[in-house]
């Protein structure tokens, strides 16, 4: 009866590997209160369980998708009380959606421009190179992003 712990505790390195983040990042998340303080072993090592893996994956995924820490904090809080109306989570996500549409639009415009730049192929001197031109002239977008 020793092989069946409720879910055996993982050290930080393993958690880091399974969630795809670096070890210091986890400690950082703990420090800013995004992950809760892990219980420690006798010898002061952090121990994690399955729920921590889930939470960290959630965080990482959200970060990867461009959510900021504060937004993630909100999302996690929301997830914590499962009978609140999903309108709040929605609002955050919707806001984000708008952002993302904007970013995609900008990046797409960019893509076009850079593609055109690169089409200068190999015709010699920078003088005629579109890369410089395009960046120089054009006033594409005026608004500060974010």
């Amino acid at each position: 009866m020793k092989g069946l712990s409720p879910t055996k505790p993982l050290p930080i390195g393993t958690l880091a590997r399974t969630a795809g983040v670096k070890v210091p990042t986890i400690r950082y998340y703990e420090q800013i209160g995004l992950m809760n303080a892990a219980p420690r072993t006798e010898s002061n090592r952090r121990t994690y369980g399955a729920s921590d893996v889930r939470r960290l994956k959630f965080i990482r995924h959200a970060r990867d998708l461009g959510f900021e820490i504060e937004e993630i904090r909100q999302l996690l809080a929301l997830a914590g009380e499962p009978d609140r109306p999903c309108a709040d989570a929605d609002a955050i996500a919707r806001q984000h959606l708008a952002d993302i549409d904007d970013r995609i639009a900008r990046l797409t415009a960019l893509r076009g421009e850079i593609a055109r730049m690169v089409d200068c192929g190999g015709h010699g001197s920078i003088g005629e190179c579109r890369v410089i031109e395009v960046l120089a002239d054009h006033d594409l977008c005026d608004h500060a992003h974010h």
Copy 2:
């Protein structure tokens, strides 16, 4: 004969407004050597000309498009010697193109997901809300970006 200076010198604030950056940003760019040190008036104010406007717009545009300072520095250096082969500028741009395709792909995937999340519409509790779910489950992208 006083109204016809070769291009009348602008103070930093005006430059900032015309290029669409904040004043401290310009001073920062000077500090890191991205803008060259502006000549000063008697009373130590920076003065700028048309070429500075162009350069700063170039920088801002490039930044806006996601180029990093170092890349911009290279681009500017390249632009400075107009008989170098455009292959170098090309290489930078191409590298960037790959990045951007990646980012667009990721953002598009994200857009889809967030759109789906938001489609949970208003059906009550977070328990059933896709926002949380989607973020929690899915392992969409593994690689660290950049």
